[in-house]
Structures are given as structure tokens and as C-alpha cells.
Amino acid sequence: MPKRLDILVCSGAACISNNSTAIKDKLQAVLTENGLLEEVSIIETGCMGPCELGPVMLVYPDGVFYIRLKEDDVEEIVREHIIKGRPVKRLQWATAEARRIAEEKRQIPFFEKQVKIVLSNCGKIDPENIEEYIATGGYEALARVLTSMTPEQVINEIANSGLRGRGGAGFPTGLKWKATRAASGEEKFVVCNGDEGDPGAFMDRAILEGDPHTVIEGMTIAAFAIGSNQGYVYVRAEYPLAVKRLEKALQQARKYGLLGKNIFETGFDFDIEIRIGAGAFVCGEETALIASIEGKRGQPRPKPPFPAEKGLWAKPTLINNVETYANVRHIILNGSKWFSEIGTVNSKGTKVFALSGKVENTGLVEVPMGVTLRELVFDIGGGIPGGKKFKAVQIGGPSGGCIPADYLDTPIDYESLKRLGTIMGSGGVIVLDEDTCMVNFAKFFLDFTKEESCGQCAPCRIGLKHLYDILDRITKGEGEMEDLETLEKLGDEIRKTSLCGLGQSAPNPVLSTLKYFRDEYVEHIKEKKCKAGVCELERPREEVSIEEKLKGVI
């Protein structure tokens, strides 16, 4: 029975990490105490997006958005808002500049420029209840595909939509499906890459936690299209909540006959198993991920053959990432034409970005491709906190690069980011302000990739260590001008000769900062100065305390 009010409590990992579970428990207790459970429902949803403001809570149909909640606030909200109908102003979301109390979700700039397709259910439905998913049109696309479309029609629809892989390289999804369908072999597999390792990216976690069925539905449609009966979702072990919600979703889907034998009584069989990683960044690379599912060390192998021909257990395998699968049902339901009208010429649809670092509104945002960096950082992100100056954005994780202020008006799509020396990657956007030293930041990325290198090929294993050592010298005031040339030359070699995507893209943070922030490198070398004040260059090293030394290492 519909209730008078729905209270949506965000139960994304970020809000949980800020005590949202205790707030939900308290809410439950206070509502029970006041005999309100009959007319008010509490719904635990996936991530609503604005993690910075968590724990957050949304009251429908009033559209009141409460932020930064404490357990002690709950009684006041129930007493004033739920009982007396007077929303508690001091806890509502106020805009950064005007501090004007926003009454409706759509008036909040954070949401205004967003177009939610992939995240349409995240933060709105209870991810542990399949019926809420079905009520939003869930599994309708699968029903349509199984009952009225041929696999070729499905593949054409995906190809015509212009959807490209959301995991990194942006390969056209339709082509991948076509190649896997065309590959010879009786048995084929559908794999979902949920090994979201890029530091600064957390959209796949949010989708798996907030709307797991959308991934299951996308994979099942893909399985029908390529001719597969078995799927695997590979999730990082660092995401226990995502694993739990996905497990529950799989059980419910089986119970409802939406997975398993004879789905929709069409004779089509498909089931999905979860595989979890154990902490290895390189497993996001598709051939490494396959090795890991097989129970091996997660080491990549040279391509070709591509997984479409020889993947899991040497059988044709379709691998797409979480966000890519989450687009599928919307394309089937609304048509490829609808999808292809969103975005730019070569990059269709929306992209989910994870805003983090020195930006006012951190969290998840979904925008049409082609939105500019300025809109992303300043309009949606609310700009830089503390009156500091913007310096750069780092896009694409350790495989991406830094983009300086001069290019803020660049529309974000696969091609224009590539031209700037970075990649879309999985969509992590780390905002840097004037207090960030670009040399130190590049060093930090290299520290990451050299640690995560699987060690198989020499360019990556040895080359990255050399790059790191040079950067380390520069940040300690021991660099020489020739180092810059070496960095470029070595970086270029590593790019060309590494075995897999990790090595091939690992020099990007160095090369892009050298391109746009060369003056900072020169300053470190010639003047022994770090204008951001991060690197300790002037004192002789013996004077540096143990604590400070440790600071350089960690």
C-alpha cells in the first residue's frame, strides 16, 4: 500500500562510512515509537551522488533533501517534518554561494545539469528488492528481446546506438558483441568487469550497490545476443557491499525466473556467477581478469587473440564493464535513435564521472558526453573549496593525464580527451588546486603503477621503476635538466613496448604533466623550489625528521 511519505536513506558505501546505518536505525526506532510506520516507509537506496554531503536522506513526495545528518537530528526531523509537516531548514541542502534553502531536488545545481540514465535508479529504489526494480520498467527490455527480437537485431540496435565501452578504451560495444557472436565455438561466456581499480573512480561500485539488476539484465541481453548460457561478474574484494547486494539480486532474479532455465518461457537459459578478486589493480585488464576468474595469477597475455575469440577457458568471451551493461536496457527500451541523439558525434549517451579531490561537491554525476570540464568542475562540482585556485583535473586514473586550466572548455568525449594526452578511462575526475605539486602528483601515480605492475614484461617492471626514481630525485632537489629528456624518452618507450594496457598507459601522468606543467619540473631542478610547498627541497636531507621521511614514502 502506498504510504504518505517515503524516506530514502542513502546506503551507498560513502554514506555508510559516515554512519548512515545508525541514522537509519534511529529513524526506524523513532518512527516506531511514534506509531508512524504505517504511513511512512524507510527505503535504503544506493548512492545518491553527493557523497561530500553525506549522510544524506531524501523525503518524498516533498522533495526535501537532508544532508550531513547526525543521529541526534533524527528526532527533530520526525517531530517537525514528519509529524508537523515543517521541513527542518537547518539540515537542508543550501547552495554554496547564496546559502539559499533549496526546496526541490531539481533546483540544486548539482543535479540541474545531470542526465540520469545509468544512475536513474541509484538512490531511488531499494536495491535489495527486485519488485522496486521491476516497477521502474526493469526486465521489460529483456522480455522484449527474448520474445520479439533476433540476436542480430539486438546487436544492430546496440551498434546503431553508438555505445562505446565505459571501462577505459572506448571500444564500440556493438562491434565487440558482433565479433563474439561471429566467433566459432559452441560454448561462449559473458563477463562483466567489475574490477574497478582506477583510484578515484567509484561509479561501478555505486551501480552494483544501488541498482544491481540493471547489470544482470544487461548481461542477460548480451548473452542472448552472442549466444551464451553462462556469465560471470568479477568484483573486487574491496567492495564487500557490492558483492552482497549483487548476490541477493541474483538470488531474487532466479526466484522470479529471470535467470536460470527457460527464461520467460522462451527456452533461453542463462545464469550468472560472481567471482571476487583479491587485490590486484592489473586484473582490470581483460586478459588478466580472465586469468583471475580461472583461479590463476592475474597476469595479462598479449593480444591478439582477443577474448572475443579466445577468452575464458579459451572460449569466445564477451567482456564489458559494469557501466556499459547498465546502458543496455535503456537502449533496448528507448531505441538506438534516442540514445544516439545524446552526446557528441563520436561519443554517444551519458558518462558517469566520479568527482573527488579539491572540489566542493564530491560524488557521482552523470552528464551527457560533450559537457565541458568547466561545467563539470565549476557548475556541477561547485568549484574549488576555500577560495583556492584551480590548477588541473586528472582524468582516467593512473592511465590518464592531467589537464590544465587552459583546456577547461574542452567538451569531454573520447576523442578530445585523447588529443589532450589523457583518456576517458573509467571516469574518475580528481580535481587539483594550487596547493598540488604536479611533479609530486605524477610521482605518486608512478609509485602506484610500479607497485601494481605484474612484473611480467621488462618495460613496465623496470621502466616504471626508473621513471619513479628520476621523479623521486627531482622532488628531492637532486634532479638535472637532462632528466626531463630521459623521462620523455623512457616514457615513450614504455608506452610502445609494454605488454598490456597498464604499462602502455602508465607513463601518461608523467608525460602529460611534463607537457602542461614543465615549468614546475624546471623550477624543482634549477631553483630547487616547489611553489606548491609540497616537496622539501632546500634543506640538506640529514635534517629531515623520520616522520617527514615517512611522509615522502607513504
Binding site: 558505501a13 560513502a14 555508510i16 562510512s17 559516515n18 553527493p50 557523497c51 561530500e52 553525506g54 574497478e196 581499480g197 582506477d198 583510484p199 578515484g200 573512480a201 567509484f202 561500485r205 573486487r236 574484494a237 574491496e238 564487500p240 567471482r275 571476487i276 578478486g277 583479491a278 587485490g279 590486484a280 589493480f281 583471475s292 576468474i293 580461472e294 583461479g295 590463476k296 595469477r297 592475474g298 597476469q299 566520479a354 568527482l355 573527488s356 579531490g357 579539491k358 564530491t362 560524488g363 557521482l364 586528472q394 574518475g428 580528481i430 587539483l432 598540488t436 602528483f441 605518486f444 601515480f445 602506484f448 607497485e451 601494481e452 605484474c454 616522520e547 615517512l550 611522509k551 607513504i554
Partner: protein
């Protein structure tokens, strides 16, 4: 769950190696894989000891030495670094009196670093076992550790 029960749950399929090692490690009160564990896993799946050892040491979440009741994994992603994770690590080092990769004498805490736990919106962050903690400050570290100490009593 005993080791044998875990083995039976997964059967003899080699691709379950990662799962089996996770479960065996979680069921060990010291959260690690002993040499005997690895040998038994290898026997059960019909793999060589060196193969199983190779897989266990490839992934950062398996430990071959005993750890504490609470495994603290501080996120050292670039975002967390930018938002002050080094202060958090220093505070933990000071507060627990151990270095990275070490366990406190009372066997309660092991301090580790992790690449990214995906809660970048509330950086700096860390995980204690399966629970994530965000928006950390050195002051909060002391509180959280005390809370866990109380919980363990």
C-alpha cells in the same frame, strides 16, 4: 567453518582457488594463510604447492603471516593522498605503535595500505575488515581505534 567444510562447499574446481583461499583466510582467527593451509588447498585441488603459493603471493589481500583481529587498510589512492592520507597513516603508526604491514603486540590490529576502496567522495578513507570509514581526521582515528579496542574486550 573448518578447512574441510570450506573445501566441500566449493568442490574440486580449480577456478575456485581464490574463493577457497579467501574463506580459509577469513576462517583463520589470525586472518592469514599458513603453510599448512596452502599445502592442504593444493592437495584438495590437485595443484602443486608452488602454484598455490604463487597465486597467494600475487594478490595483495592474502597474507602469509599472522595478522590481527582488525585489519586496517588505509586507502592510498591519489585522491586520498591529496586529501591528507599521509597524516592519517602517521597517526595510525603513532597510535598503534606499529609500521605498515605489522601487527600490534596484543594481536588486535594490523596496519596495511590499499590502492583504492572506492569511497573517494569522502576521502581520506580506510577500511577495518569489511567496514569503510570516510572523512577521516587524525582526531577521528584515535576515537575509532578506541572504539574497536572496547569492542574487542
Amino acid at each position: 567453518m573448518t578447512r574441510e567444510e570450506i573445501f566441500k562447499k566449493y568442490g574440486k574446481s580449480k577456478d575456485n582457488l581464490l574463493y577457497i583461499m579467501h574463506d580459509v583466510q577469513d576462517n583463520n582467527p589470525r586472518h592469514y594463510l599458513s603453510e599448512e593451509d596452502l599445502k592442504e588447498v593444493a592437495n584438495w585441488l590437485g595443484l602443486s604447492y608452488s602454484y598455490v603459493h604463487g597465486v597467494a603471493t600475487f594478490y595483495s589481500m592474502y597474507s602469509l603471516k599472522p595478522r590481527g583481529k582488525y585489519i586496517i587498510r588505509v586507502c592510498e589512492s591519489p585522491t586520498c593522498h591529496l586529501m591528507g592520507s599521509s597524516d592519517i597513516i602517521l597517526e595510525l603508526v603513532k597510535h598503534l605503535g606499529v609500521g605498515i604491514g605489522e601487527t600490534t603486540k596484543d594481536e588486535l590490529f594490523t596496519l596495511e595500505l590499499t590502492s583504492c576502496i572506492g569511497v573517494c567522495g569522502v576521502a581520506p578513507a580506510m577500511m577495518i575488515n569489511n567496514e569503510a570509514y570516510g572523512n577521516l581526521t587524525p582526531e577521528r582515528i584515535a576515537q575509532i581505534i578506541e572504539e574497536k579496542r572496547r569492542e574487542a574486550r
